[in-house]
Symmetry: C2
Subunit: 115 residues, 2 copies
């Protein structure tokens, strides 16, 4: 089985066949990380309940938590209005970030300096 | 003035010189939309307090709300752990989505069908 053709028809992929996927903690609303999915990663995410990405660096599927234990249990998945972004609401076990931070956005806050 | 070189040095851009930027409502945590920034759009976002993107379709800067009135007032900006995604926390006036929906992810919920 592969991705539902009705969903596949709505996806707008980049030149590498990928769509950015935002992972968000479903209850607190924290934005955890951004990763990338191809059609098969989205299919696996929808049918296994485990957030599954395409690793651009390793060029392989990446079931979040398989190595780290920091599993993302999928609660809801939505496409945006033009089909070029995926929002995955998950229940994140432990840290989402490989650095050990809860989210990938915790460490590098930029200063806003209104002119 | 252009983007602080210390920030520019941490940014990882795609082949078009762009970085995905996630816009999130700062108080409710809603993920509003994903758009794209180049260095100058990020600089303007940090220094004007108005979320500013690079429109890939129009190939021009896009100050969110200039046409629609649906301004994004910038509250906080962060880079992710590897500098290839930006999280912009904003106070969104009205609808974030051009369809009139509050967020770009409201209309197309995908069914999770665990095997």
């Amino acid at each position: 089985m592969s991705l539902d053709p009705k969903i596949a028809a709505r996806l707008k992929r980049n030149a590498d066949g990928l769509v950015p996927a935002i992972a968000q903690q479903y209850d607190t609303g924290e934005v955890l990380m951004l990763a990338w999915m191809n059609d098969e990663a989205l299919h696996r995410t929808l049918t296994t309940g485990r957030a599954t990405y395409w690793s651009r660096s390793r060029q392989e599927f990446w079931v979040k938590g398989d190595t780290s234990g920091h599993v993302q249990h999928v609660k809801a998945v939505a496409l945006d209005c033009d089909g070029d972004t995926i929002l995955v609401k998950v229940d994140q076990e432990g840290a989402a970030c490989h650095t050990g931070d809860r989210t990938c956005f915790d460490a590098d806050q930029l200063e806003i300096a209104l002119g």
